[in-house]
């Protein structure tokens, strides 16, 4: 590989870059773990491809899913992506906890460099390729239905966002097999990630994947914001929107304005690494503090991008399963907006210890504590919503309750960390790690799981298994407390974060407890997969085709489950905050329209898949210095966009007769269904028609 042709063709790739070759040449436990992970990626991909080929589903997959511009299918694909990435990043977390438990005054089994890759991929994946796709998927599925729209404002852009995210996630997976990942953490701080200290491909993988994901999120935010501003159905004023739409709107606005700083930070780092610029280098005028500043200009709003949609989901869940109007709607809206704006004013608290003056830190510390106020308002509103309601402890409701208690706890430690003097003591320790997991696991993961359980029957037409849902819930909560409460103790005792080994025997029991907690969290994910499996097997007993299994309040429950591709045969008109709930009480919840019209839906397009694959190819070429590939893919993206602009036939008509057939079938099912009382809604007697009492 030393002659001229190979470097031109393959850039800096060598056989040694393959995890398998490394394990073959140097069969230590450390390398074998790496090769095992690579093997899982390869075998996983191969078995999925084989399965699809054997069952002959390629055509179906391509036509019905991969090229679809239907917001519902795109939403489902986002959530599937999130679960795949969750599985990988959780496995990495368990591996890290096992290593730490084994490595008190001992080397353990994972070497420092490998350990550093583990925490870098764990963080990057959990934020950019688990949390972001998860919430984007739920938003995609729910928001257009809730505002009475037929799709998002830009369906093709939606598909492009999905595929760019997917391409970037694929790149993360490829980094397990070919080459190695960054050891610079999910924040990728220079100067460590500069060429001088990390000359390998790791940081380039990180830059490429994060930049692609960041661009995709910006576009998603744009799409949702326009959808909510311009596509609401008649009568749906802003102050009548379900709260989930409000949180979607605020999250979208945060995406629009907070992702660009990340793009700038990673792009400038790339300029440093590829073209020898001096933004963050040690020499010739570079200043890494600029990077910390840019990164956290993104990083703090990002926290609220992640948490707000969960707040929205909890609002829907708590109100539905208490059979009560959401308490303090206006205050919840104002609190959401206040959080969104305030989130742009606190970023310095992520680098209190960088060296700026005490006065500056004090300003940002106070601003940080201010955010606790609107958050507190929300918690009280949810409690008051439950007060004297007909509360049912279904799985989504359990997640909501666990969230309220756990999140408040995390909030308290956040207030502690907002004191700059205290932050000086515990920054970069496990205390911080405990704090942000304490915010994000209840504030994102529980919320998205609650949302999944709540809206799953709407999306697939059958309910999820309640028993396995409860088992998974128990594991998520119990595992969380065991895994992260010890970290507060360890952090306060001085245990540095991201440590591959410890030299303090007193840490050992706490590390053991945390390790057990991590294993229980792994069991929780397993229980979720078992639940899905069991639910699919029992699906015929749990169908809710009529579409309203929980006596829902918003418009999304007024369609069949799953909804038709056009969502609404006739665009609804609303006159209140809980249009469907009130409609059922007034007797016109399921009014049959006088007639139907042709409906235009977006035609499938392969622009999304093409952009995603070319984007990933461009990134891969840049990572490995395979310049011909990068140039080719970039040209391909430009050509795809231009070619698309020449296509005029972008809509497909669903004829009125077909609409009538689909709608009649649904109305017949409603007429045949037995209404279900609230106490039996988790039994197979639930056919998706709510018993209307009051």
């Amino acid at each position: 590989m030393t002659d001229g042709i190979w470097p031109a063709l393959l850039g800096r790739f060598t056989w040694n870059a393959l995890a398998f070759v490394r394990a073959w040449q140097n069969p230590t436990v450390n390398e074998i773990i790496g090769a095992g992970a690579a093997m899982m990626v390869v075998l996983g991909a191969a078995s999925v491809i084989t399965l699809i080929t054997v069952t002959g589903k390629w055509g179906y997959l391509w036509r019905e899913w991969l090229t679809s511009l239907d917001h519902k299918k795109i939403g489902v694909m986002y959530v599937v992506l999130a679960f795949v990435m969750l599985a990988r990043a959780l496995a990495e977390a368990v591996l890290m906890r096992m290593q730490q438990a084994a490595a008190v005054n001992a080397p353990g089994f994972v070497e420092p460099d490998h350990f550093a890759q583990l925490f870098s991929t764990h963080g990057s994946i959990m934020i950019f390729f688990m949390a972001m796709p998860f919430l984007t998927g739920i938003i995609n599925y729910v928001t257009p239905l809730q505002i009475g729209a037929r799709d998002v404002a830009f369906p093709l852009l939606n598909s492009i966002s999905l595929w760019l995210t997917g391409g970037a996630a694929g790149l993360m997976m490829v980094s397990l097999v070919i080459g190695r990942f960054s050891t610079g953490g999910w924040t990728g701080y220079p100067p460590y990630t500069e060429l001088a200290f990390s000359p390998d491909v790791g940081p380039d993988y990180w830059i490429s994947a994060v930049t692609l994901g960041s661009i995709a999120s910006t576009l998603s935010g744009l799409n949702f914001a326009v959808t909510i501003y311009k596509l609401r159905c008649p009568g749906m004023t802003l102050m009548r929107m379900p709260l989930f739409c409000w949180t979607t709107l605020c999250t979208s606005i945060l995406m629009i304005f907070a992702m660009p700083p990340l793009t700038v930070a990673t792009a400038l780092l790339a300029l440093d690494r590829y073209l020898g610029f001096h933004f963050f280098t040690n020499d010739l005028g570079g200043n890494m503090m600029n990077y910390a500043n840019l990164f956290w200009l993104f990083g703090h709003p990002e926290v609220y991008i992640l948490i707000l949609p969960a707040f929205g989901a909890y609002s829907e869940v708590v109100s539905t399963f208490s059979s009560k109007e959401l308490y303090g709607y206006t205050s919840l809206v104002l609190a959401t907006m206040a959080i969104a704006v305030l989130s742009f004013t606190v970023w310095v608290h992520h680098f209190f210890a960088m060296g700026q003056s005490a006065n500056l830190n004090a300003v940002f510390g106070i601003a940080t504590m201010t955010i606790g106020v609107p958050t507190g308002v929300k918690i009280y509103d949810w409690i008051w919503t439950m007060f004297r309601g007909e509360v049912r402890f279904t799985v989504p409701m359990l997640y909501s309750l666990a969230f309220m208690m756990t999140f408040v706890l995390g909030g308290f430690t956040g207030i502690l960390l907002a004191f700059p003097p205290l932050d000086y003591l515990v920054h970069n320790t496990l205390f911080l790690v405990a704090h942000f997991h304490n915010m994000l696991i209840p504030g994102l993961l529980y919320g998205m799981l609650a949302a999944t359980h709540y809206w799953f029957p709407k999306a697939f037409g059958f309910r999820l298994n309640e028993k396995w849902g409860r088992i998974a819930f128990g594991c998520w909560v119990f595992g969380f407390y065991l895994a992260f409460m010890p970290l507060y103790v360890l952090g306060a005792g001085g245990a540095a974060r991201r440590s591959q080994a410890f030299f303090e025997p007193a840490f050992r029991p706490w590390l053991y407890v945390a390790g057990v907690g991590a294993l229980i969290l792994l069991a929780a994910l397993t229980a979720l997969f078992v639940q899905l499996w069991v639910s699919i097997r029992e699906r015929d007993a749990n169908r809710v085709f009529a579409g309203d299994p929980w006596d829902g309040r918003g418009l999304e429950w007024s369609t069949s489950a799953p909804p038709p591709e056009y969502n609404y045969a006739v665009i609804p008109v609303v006159d209140g905050r809980d249009p469907f709930y009130d409609g059922k009480r007034d007797g016109d919840g399921y009014a049959v329209p006088a007639g139907y019209e042709d409906i235009a839906v977006p035609r499938n397009s392969m622009v999304g898949p093409a952009t995603g694959i070319l984007g990933a190819g461009l990134a891969f070429g840049l990572v490995w210095y395979i310049w011909w590939l990068a140039v080719l893919c970039l040209a391909g993206i430009v050509a795809t966009v231009i070619a698309r602009s020449f296509i005029r036939d972008v809509e497909r008509i669903v004829p009125a007769a077909d609409v009538a057939r689909i709608e009649d079938r649904w109305h017949h099912a409603i007429a045949a269904a037995r209404p279900i009382s609230r106490h039996h809604e988790t039994t197979p007697a639930n056919q998706g028609l709510a018993e209307v009492t009051a």
Partner: protein, 108 residues
């Protein structure tokens, strides 16, 4: 503002006039800024203030005459968007300058 829509010719003339006024103003403001720097008459700080002031005015002229954004006639969504963006940009840019200057000062 509620002028009858019957006369597109008059509307067209009015629009061309808007663009022409915008173009003339833009040239004048640009020229002013360049002249202030090329033939310095004031101390450097004053000149800098003048240049930035002229730039701000010129941005408003462009928004008004070329992009047709104004406080009165724009749709509310657009105006809110632009004003909010301005707020965020001010926050980010001012914050960055203050923080990095503060760090710089403490390293002297």
């Amino acid at each position: 503002m509620t002028a009858p829509q019957a006369d597109p010719r008059r509307e067209k003339r009015r629009e061309i006039r808007t663009y022409a006024i915008g173009y003339a103003l833009a040239l004048a403001l640009t020229g002013g800024a360049f002249a202030a720097v090329h033939w310095p008459r004031f101390p450097a700080r004053t000149t800098l203030g003048l240049v930035f002031g002229l730039a701000l005015v010129q941005m408003i002229v462009h928004l008004r005459c070329f992009l047709h954004v104004s406080l009165r006639r724009s749709s509310r969504d657009d105006l809110l968007l632009i004003l909010f963006s301005t707020l965020i940009i001010i926050l980010m840019v001012a914050g960055t300058i203050v923080i990095i200057a503060n760090l710089h000062g403490r390293m002297m």
